[in-house]
């Protein structure tokens, strides 16, 4: 079990930082904040921090989890000290000794905002689309392109009209088995009349296998 866990937000301009950037930025922020992180042993020691299910670049997160080992003066003061040392968009919320390992995260709740510059379709149409049994999308990775069924990646998709040409959807994604980048919800619509002009994605929180908030 890691010693401590930090809940943090990654929003606004910070959503464009890569996972490595975030790790590096936190390592420095801990140092700036006067909280010395423990380092691994060996030839090339690195600070002991790890982030559960790193966010894809461009996606905001409100309940991100970072496990760390450090000599903390007071766990309660960690967020305040860190926030004085973090860049815009990265914000520490609270730190605590965790009860469960990050590997027990099962699900993630996402909020997807579909923007339609010329008026949004009825939310039911989006919900119907994402209720289909098969939703083929082409997944691109370094290894090449593979076709997957997006429907296997989420448990539920609930959409509502958010006004101003926007439809907001709450989606519970499978975070454990084969997590997908939420951008595929946009690309799935690319060839349809439901194609948005833009889709913003936010990960609200992690859930355990019983759909309770993951601590």
């Amino acid at each position: 079990m890691p010693k401590y866990r930090l809940v943090f937000q990654k929003t606004g301009s910070a959503k464009w930082l890569s996972h490595l950037d975030v790790m590096h930025t936190f390592a420095r922020a801990f140092l700036r904040a006067g909280i010395p992180l423990k380092h691994s042993e060996g030839f090339n020691p690195h600070p002991k921090i790890s982030i559960a299910h790193p966010l894809p670049v461009g996606v905001e997160g409100y309940g991100e989890l970072l496990d760390f080992e450090a000599d903390c003066p007071s766990l309660e003061r960690v967020p305040e000290l860190l926030n004085a040392a973090l860049p815009v968009g990265l914000r520490a919320i609270r730190a605590y000794p965790p009860q469960a390992a990050a590997s027990e995260i099962a699900l993630a709740l996402y909020r997807l905002t579909f923007e339609y510059d010329n008026g949004a379709p009825a939310p039911e149409r989006l919900a119907d689309f994402f209720a289909q049994e098969t939703i083929p999308v082409v997944k691109r990775s370094k290894k090449g392109e593979t076709e997957i069924n997006l429907r296997d990646a989420y448990l539920s998709f609930v959409a509502r009209d958010a006004g101003e040409g926007r439809i907001e959807a709450e989606v519970v994604l499978d975070a454990a088995r084969a997590p997908v980048n939420p951008k595929y919800f946009e690309s799935a619509l690319a060839e349809t009349s439901l194609k948005p002009n833009y889709m913003a994605a936010t990960r609200e929180k992690f859930l355990d296998s019983t759909e309770k908030d993951f601590e």
Binding site: G12, S13, A14, W16, L17, S18, L20, D21, H24, T25, A27, R28, A29, F30, L31, R32, H39, F43, P45, V57, G58, A85, L86, P87, V88, G89, E115, K183, N197, Y198, A200
Partner: protein, 608 residues
């Protein structure tokens, strides 16, 4: 951030380049700001954010009440395309506001191959390229090492600032504040700002040409001085230094804290522009360096600190400094790096102390293969010294050695070129005999093409033609031992550098034409397009050979004749003559050679 920017950022490479928001970035309340300055670096974010000068001047200008200085970098072509398509003009990173709404737009000139990026950034900002076509504010000015002959950019900038910026920039920005308050015209502002020592307004100098293209005369008007003399800061201990800098959240080229040790160089290598233009030698005290280093390491949380100067091993209290810094760095796991070490006064014991864990590698720049040519260029390094240092390093377990050379230096013969292979061979042999590293020693030889630079003893020299460079590169390739990795610079880039380094203001037309034809990021191989450049010269009707390959007469009026870096042209001529006799000039510490730069300092004595 609005979704308009988000919509394009998701399609570009490394979007974090374009968002700002870093720790240490300065956000001011618009209501308390009367003067907005955009500090533009004409290259991509990762390059610009590695530049110490930018961090210094950014902090400096923001320390002025009422002034908000923001950063702006050249967007990579993928982002530029998206911005143009979406109609988003070039914006400053801190506020996201378009820089065309600012009061001043300033550029730092680090190398000639970034000039087209300046034009591109002006255009992307929605500003007219030509200074004469821009009315009112923002004014556009430029400084940095290329400003000592910024003539090719003269048509595009309103003025240059020459020399060290720590004091001059405050005076210039104050003048901009005053001009805005008084509501005066740009012309009146330029008259006022031209009175600040070190400020050069090119439109206040008429340049005439002989029919063969040489400069016939440079005539000042509006009461400006005949020679604009660069500025220096006399006391580096009292000088402004930012103890809070912007810490990039994303990877940059040099992701570390940098603290200067001294300015100027005691060595006087005859090819080296930096060695002349940063004179006279002035040092920071050990106490100042330690204080600034600690403050910056604490502020940034960086894992590495680099000590910067033109020749680190010439800093007198280097040993003491390293001891003091290591005391602080080791418990924090901070690496200390010492670049620009010379092979002849290199202290191995010091290197060992500094690099306790990682034995990275050794890098030296003998510059020339033969002792004769090293004497001619005044690079007073002897092969014995290099061999002695390498031997200790190889015995101590070092496993890489990089050697940097130049070809096309004045007085060079084929024998000198081949001597590079000889030297490399002898180091390889030495490595075989002495190396203790299991992997042996990997030796790399890198060869650059010599570019004659203004304000150096070689400013009158002809550059080798591209064919000649290629011949020499191949000649050396044939003799270079196979076990040595051999790299060389592209002669066509060096040729263009030579054209613009010693160019006159007529070249502005070529710059504009090349930019219109699509040239940008010319310092990046993937974008450099030599044929486009040659086409631009042809369209404008100027011959690049005239600038690169022509030897100038010592009595010729050079395009930078009205610019003084404080070094006496007679001294440059003496040094050039000594080069032709392969005679060395002792370093400034061993004896003053009377370059004239010490006149900047009280009592005329520099801190060599």
């Amino acid at each position: 951030m609005d979704s308009r920017l988000d919509r394009i950022l998701r399609r570009v490479e490394k979007p974090a380049r374009y968002t700002g928001g870093e720790y240490g970035a300065i956000i001011k309340n618009r209501a308390e700001v009367d003067t907005r300055v955009a500090f533009c670096f004409p290259d991509v974010y990762e390059v610009g954010m590695s530049n110490l000068g930018m961090q210094i001047l950014y902090g400096l200008k923001n320390s002025m009440p009422g002034v908000w200085c923001e950063r702006c970098f050249a967007p990579w072509p993928d982002m530029e395309r998206e911005m143009r398509q979406a109609g988003i003009p070039l914006y400053a990173l801190e506020s996201g506001d378009p820089i065309r709404e600012f009061d001043a737009v300033c550029f730092t000139l680090q190398y000639e191959m970034s000039y087209t990026n300046i034009l591109n950034m002006l255009d992307l900002a929605g500003l007219e390229l030509r200074a004469e076509r821009r009315e009112g504010f923002p004014v556009v000015f430029a400084g940095g090492s290329c400003a000592y002959n910024g003539e090719p950019l003269a048509p595009f900038v309103d003025f240059f600032v020459l020399g060290e910026g720590e004091e001059m920039n405050v005076e210039v920005v104050r003048e901009i504040q005053r001009a805005k308050r008084d509501g005066i015209s740009k012309q009146d502002f330029l008259r006022r700002v031209s009175a600040i020592p070190g400020v050069y307004v090119p439109s206040f100098y008429d340049v005439e040409y002989h029919t063969d293209g040489r400069v016939a005369s440079i005539t000042p008007k509006n009461g400006v001085p005949e020679k604009v003399v660069k500025r220096i800061v006399k006391d580096l201990d009292q000088m402004y230094f930012p103890e809070k800098t912007v810490v990039p959240s994303t990877e940059v080229i040099h992701d570390r804290v940098t603290v200067e040790l001294f300015r100027g160089c005691i060595r006087g290598c005859r090819f080296c522009q930096a060695g002349q233009i940063y004179r006279p030698v002035r040092s920071k005290s050990c106490e100042t360096v330690v204080k600034q280093a600690k403050a910056l390491l604490e502020h940034t949380g960086c894992e590495e600190i680099s000590l910067s100067s033109l020749s680190t091993s010439d800093y007198r209290p280097l040993g003491q400094l390293c001891d003091l810094l290591l005391e602080f760095c080791e418990p924090r796991r901070t690496n200390l790096s010492l670049p620009s070490l010379r092979a002849d006064n290199f202290s191995f014991e010091l290197m060992e102390r500094v690099q306790k864990v990682r034995k990275s590698g050794l890098t030296f720049a003998p510059e020339a293969g033969s002792q004769r040519l090293r004497d001619a260029i005044n690079k007073n390094v002897r092969e014995e010294d290099l061999a002695r240092t390498c031997r200790i390093a190889f015995e101590g377990g070092y496993s890489t050695l990089k050697l940097y050379f130049m070809i096309g230096l004045p007085t060079e013969t084929d024998e000198d070129v081949l001597a590079i292979a000889g030297l490399a061979y002898r180091m390889m042999k030495l490595a075989k005999e002495t190396a203790t590293s299991k992997r042996g020693v990997r030796i790399t030889v890198s060869v650059a093409c010599f570019v004659p630079k203004p304000h150096t003893p070689f400013q009158w020299e002809a550059q080798n033609s591209m064919e000649e460079f290629k011949r020499k590169i191949d000649l050396l390739k044939g003799k270079m031992p196979r076990a040595i990795a051999y790299n060389w610079h592209d002669p066509s880039t060096s040729y263009l550098e030579a054209v613009f380094a010693r160019g006159d203001r007529r070249l502005g037309d070529v710059l504009e034409q090349a930019w219109r034809d699509g040239c940008k990021f010319d310092g990046w191989n993937e974008y450099f397009d030599f044929e486009k450049w040659m086409g631009a010269f042809k369209k404008v009707g100027l011959d690049p050979d005239f600038y690169a390959l022509r030897e100038r007469g010592e009595d010729e009026i050079l395009p930078w004749n009205h610019i003084s870096v404080g070094v006496d042209p007679e001294y440059l001529k003496r040094e050039r003559a000594a080069a032709y006799r392969s005679e060395i000039t002792p370093d400034c510490r061993a004896g003053c050679s009377g370059c004239g730069a010490s006149d900047f300092l009280e009592g005329g004595v520099c801190d060599a």
